[in-house]
Amino acid sequence: MNLADHWLFSYQALIRHRLRSAMLLLAISIGVSSVLLLTSIGEGARLFIEQEFSALGAKMLIVLPGKKETTGSAPPIYGTTPRDLTIEDSETLKQISNISHVAPIIAGTATVSNQSLARDIIILGTTNDMFTVRNLKLQQGKKLPLNSHIRATPVCILGAGLAQKLFPKTSAVGQWLRIGEYRYRVIGLLEQRGESLGLDLRDMAIIPVQSAQMLFNSPALFRILLQLKQADSEAKTIEQINKAIAQRHEGEADITVVSQDSVLNAFDKIILAVTASIGAIAAISLFVAGILIMNVSYISVSQRREEIGLLKSLGASASEIHRIFLIGSLVLTIFGVLIGIVFSYSVIFLININFPDIPIAIPWWSTASASITAVVVGLLFSWLPAKKAAAVDPILALRGEQ
């Protein structure tokens, strides 16, 4: 019996035993779908984080004040050091050839008010480079003055949400408002972009870094964001940064430089582990489907005893019967896998269309591994029933006896 005939024979058995086939197909496709859909949730989380990082702009380094000697953990948020990181430090970094943009950041909370409307919000003091490094866009108005790192100009740029709250009726651009003790003129509005790595830019105000130094009465930078010209010479650049800061800080490079890649990698590892364990849990349903395949195959062997006896009398050997039943299961499993894949991808497609905000996708490796697992489980669990079929005594089977 050649391969094409095996398929044909199995296919005929499949489509002409509708109920049995439908049951098995359902079981297998549910198993495959559950793996695909559950892993797609993990993959969705990974995509979300990747999206967040790519919004930051590529080739970014973050310089934090204080030296953290630990490695391999999440990036440190605050370090401790007797020497502050200053605006002047950040200006020095501009001289490093591989650095294209330097955005010093002073952050703090302050009360912003327009007459009786007031909000306690995070104020970011920075320069125009910030817009390039974090890929921020304005929907209205203009960016910070080019001399933000020199002069404390009383201007600010508002997040879209904050502008809405403070100026519900009028356009915010051109208006004056009060931040802490000082008055600022609104010169621009940020584009509606939502959250970025936990920072809700919609409810923030951005002012020149010198103004922030004056507002918070402190020269200490919260951090410096750097954009590189070339990502591949990252290590060398970090070395140069350390050297430059050490020169200014009495020979001690008391800073921590975090690269975007290292952060992304850390997240990636965590999410991958989570996704894989979700996938493993979902694989249990594939296993259950396998047991169902075995049960139904056993029933099928009992039902088809007469046919098996007949095939033997027509010259089929035991190994051929074994093969017929294995291929029968294989055909069934492959159909089930296909149905499961089509179903899962349709569900994900519908979610993507209706809820474009939720980044969700089926990772290719889960499709591949679920398919392979299903086929292997299918074959494994039909092995015994097929063996039983091969052992049927043709004489008894043809006589209709057990």
Partner: protein, 260 residues
């Protein structure tokens, strides 16, 4: 059907075949020292009460069963030495089965059922389809090719069964009560078909209860309690004495009770 040359050397040669089944506590001698030669083109009927070993002998000849001891030579092969795989091959090449209850695969059409043996032997789909259509047309089933077994009458089913047995052009056709489930008219038709192919050279062995059918055969065998008690070729109820026949008959009844 191609005519096969008739030769004097037997194509089937059984000598000293024994087969014992365990029925309950005691062994049942299904076949007892069977000696049988069958020539190419023979028309043989095999009769006897149920439990006498007819079916076992048929299965033995059809290579579905193995003897406990004795020799079975089919053409040039000593079959008792062969592996299951090789026996299946021989069966596929030389032997066609016709069953009392037809044994068609219910989900396959008449045409597909006839194709199954060629499918098993790996014949190309186009070739086997043409062959099956030709054979079914020859048997008057041209209009029923795509019908499923449940849509066919008994006579038609048996003709499909015969077509399936003949499609590999076997040398030997083994029919187990081929007319047992048919009315008289269909039974007669089926008998005529079988006899037609026999006159074309195929060796035909019919197991039957039907005396009328049995008498039509040129060579008639009778079995009792696993022994061949009558062979019309040797022209006499030779081996067994009448009084022994009676003695054996009582045991046979006992065995039959245990069998059913």
């Amino acid at each position: 059907m191609t005519k096969r040359p008739k030769t004097d050397t037997p194509i089937i040669k059984l000598s000293g075949i024994n087969k014992t089944y365990q029925v309950g506590d005691q062994p049942l001698n299904a076949l007892c020292d069977i000696q049988l030669d069958i020539q190419q083109g023979d028309y043989i009927s095999l009769m006897g009460p149920s439990g006498s070993g007819k079916s076992t002998l048929l299965n033995m000849i059809g290579l579905l069963d193995r003897p406990d001891n004795g020799q079975y030579q089919l053409f040039d092969s000593n079959t008792e030495l062969l592996t299951e795989e090789l026996r299946a091959n021989l069966r596929r090449q030389h032997i066609g089965f016709v069953f009392q209850s037809f044994h068609l695969i219910p989900r396959l059409t008449a045409l597909e059922n006839v194709e199954v043996p060629l499918m098993l032997s790996g014949t190309a789909p186009k070739v086997r389809r043409e062959k099956a259509i030709a054979l079914l047309t020859e048997l008057g089933l041209k209009d029923h090719l795509t019908q499923l077994p449940r849509q066919l009458s008994g006579g038609q089913l048996q003709r499909v069964g015969i077509a399936r047995a003949l499609i590999t052009e076997p040398a030997i056709l083994l029919a187990d009560e081929p007319t047992g489930n048919l009315d008289q008219k269909s039974g007669h038709e089926v008998t005529q078909i079988l006899e037609r192919y026999n006159s074309n050279g195929i060796t035909l062995l019919v197991v039957t209860h039907d005396q009328a059918l049995g008498k039509r055969a040129k060579r008639q065998l009778s079995m009792l309690d696993g022994q061949l008690v009558n062979d019309s070729k040797t022209l006499a109820p030779s081996k067994v004495m009448p009084d022994k026949t009676i003695a054996v008959q009582t045991i046979s009844n006992k065995n039959r009770a245990e069998l059913t």
